[in-house]
């Protein structure tokens, strides 16, 4: 059954892996594939994770069962208390992990207004943060982001110890690869390539030089149990395929 796993299903498992070993924290997935991944993690190797219904209710393994109440102000306290691992999107991301979701072009009069900073500044300085990029491209992976919303390693270091104290960037999952910051200068490198993806493809889709080891591993295969849960329990409608087409 694993032989038939789609790219979207590899991405789901790669996202789920982001929350492995986190303990009793809130998994905050933003995007369809991360949301499926967080539920998969909770139903398999990380049952202790907390998950919401996308609004103010904390739900159990059965998403119809409410086990807690988390309105925005309590959610923000959980962020600043560090008991949360968020996986955010990124309109732009640079090699240091600076993320932009606010606007493209000059902030004073943007070429394209996007969401606004939202909670990216508070998230990145307070709780572990990962990113999900459904389409790995030079438009997203840029040399310099137009507005730093989520704070990267260089900017946190420049801002001083109050900024770095709880700053933790974990990983970046894309439709091509899993990346992390395990380099001496804490810039992005490829941790694993999804099956069928070459190092060259990833380099070409990235707007800055990228460290890819010659013996870089492959992203792990979904297990038969994981595939069954994804296909039959969590996402029977196949929403994952609309975010990451086969």
């Amino acid at each position: 059954m694993t032989g038939g796993a789609t790219r979207a299903e590899y991405c789901v498992v790669a996202c789920a892996e982001a929350w492995r070993g986190d303990g009793e924290v809130l998994a905050s997935p933003m995007g369809v594939v991360p949301r499926i991944g967080a539920r998969l993690a909770k139903l398999t190797f990380a049952p202790e994770l907390l998950l919401t219904d996308g609004e103010a209710m904390i739900v159990g393994d059965d998403p119809e069962v409410v086990e807690g109440w988390l309105p925005y102000r309590a959610h923000l306290a959980l962020v600043t208390g560090g008991r949360r691992h968020v996986m955010m999107g990124a309109s732009q991301l640079d090699r240091h992990g600076n993320q932009n979701i606010s606007c493209v072009g000059d902030w004073k009069r943007p070429r394209r207004q996007l969401l606004g900073v939202r909670g990216a500044p508070v998230n990145t300085l307070n709780n572990p943060t990962s990113y999900w990029v459904p389409r790995h491209s030079r438009r997203v992976f840029v040399d310099r982001v137009d507005m730093v919303c989520g704070v990267g390693h260089d900017r946190a270091a420049a801002a001083g110890p109050a900024a770095t104290r709880f700053h933790q960037l974990r990983c970046v999952v894309t439709d091509l690869a899993v990346l992390d910051f395990a380099t001496p200068d804490r810039t992005l490198r490829v941790r694993s390539l999804h099956p069928g993806v070459t190092a060259e493809t990833v380099r070409e889709a990235t707007g800055f030089p990228l460290d890819i080891a010659g013996d870089v591993p492959r992203t792990r295969q979904p297990s038969p149990t994981e595939l069954r849960l994804i296909r039959e329990v969590i996402d029977p409608e196949g929403a994952r395929d609309r975010e990451v087409p086969a």
Binding site: E55, A56, M57, P71, Y72, R73, L76, V79, T80, S102, C103, W107, K108, R109, P110, R111, R112, Q113, L114, L115, G116, V117, R118, G119, A120, P121, V122, T124, L125, N126, M147, V148, C149, G150, V151, R155, A156, A158, A159, G160, P161, A162, A163, R165, F166, H167
Partner: protein, 282 residues
């Protein structure tokens, strides 16, 4: 009081805080009354949704204080986006947590509250007036001093209220509506239904009483007053209408038609036009 009477207390140039979050439980009947007034040059503080979009499209906003403006099921608020891209509004772009602590500081009559959020981000660059403050204790941490977000007027919408201004929230999230009311010199509370105080006990009890009357200046009964945003459990978001709104907002001609059809009369005419729109879709 009526929505017109409430909005009549707002003067051009004032700072107005608007409750709700995104396209959820926005005081839209009060916003529509504001659209019909001559008031302009406002500073609007909001966890932004179509309230921000409508007021920006009507040229009512000089400055927006916000972390975002979204329609939730449609990620980008189209009028907010257009206003920003044509340089039509000034923006104080703050992080969500900074917004909450700014309102909290105002509630507690403090000049600022210290937060970690913002350090290292361009929120500090685009708001050159933001200052940091050093902890006087042995940690010595340098944190952001979020200034109090004091409001002249707050507008919020809840499920129920009594005539004296006690407000009941029956939905999943109070958002920050109580902070908006307490941070404001005057607060106007619209609700789906005005009830006798004794009726609060039935659908939820005392823990659902979010806003207290000392912080409310006037109560407006406005059934459907959050439309087209959600007001759970009374009603969900009117997705069909929101889609029509977003589509019209993308084109000046279509927007003129939309405003003529839905926003040129009072609230009674708005509700009739929305009902007719609903019948067309059925």
């Amino acid at each position: 009081m009526t929505a017109e009477e409430a909005v009549g207390r707002i003067r051009s140039g004032m700072t107005v805080g608007i409750g709700g979050w995104g396209s959820r439980r926005k005081p839209m009947a009060l916003v529509r009354a504001l659209l019909r007034s001559d008031v302009t040059d406002l500073t609007v503080v909001s966890f932004g949704g179509p309230d921000v979009g409508l007021l920006a499209a009507a040229g009512k906003i000089r400055r927006l204080v916000a972390a975002f403006a979204t329609l939730d099921s449609i990620p980008l608020e189209p009028h907010f986006r257009a206003a920003r891209e044509r340089g039509g509004i000034e923006l104080t772009e703050l992080d969500e947590a900074m917004m909450m602590w700014g309102l909290t500081a105002a509630v507690h009559r403090l000049p600022f509250l210290p937060v970690r959020a913002g350090l290292g981000s361009d929120v500090m660059t685009v708001n050159p007036g933001l200052r940091t403050v050093r902890s006087p204790y042995e940690d010595g941490e340098e944190l952001v001093a979020v200034p109090a977000l004091r409001l002249d007027v707050a507008l919020v919408h809840l499920n129920r209220a009594d005539a004296r201004g006690n407000g009941q929230c029956l939905g999943p999230d109070p958002y920050f509506d109580d902070l908006f009311c307490e941070a404001a010199a005057e607060a106007y509370l619209s609700c789906e239904r005005v009830v006798a105080t004794a009726e609060f006990a039935d659908p939820g009890g005392p823990r659902t009483l979010l806003v207290r009357r000392h912080a409310v200046t006037g109560v407006i009964e406005a059934p459907g007053g959050a439309h087209f945003t959600s007001c759970a459990p009374d009603y969900g978001r009117d997705e069909a209408f929101q889609t029509a709104y977003a589509k019209a907002a993308a084109d000046p001609g279509a927007w003129r038609e939309f405003t003529e059809r839905f926003l040129s009369g009072d609230e009674r005419r708005y509700r009739a036009a929305v009902a007719a729109f609903g019948r067309e879709g059925a």
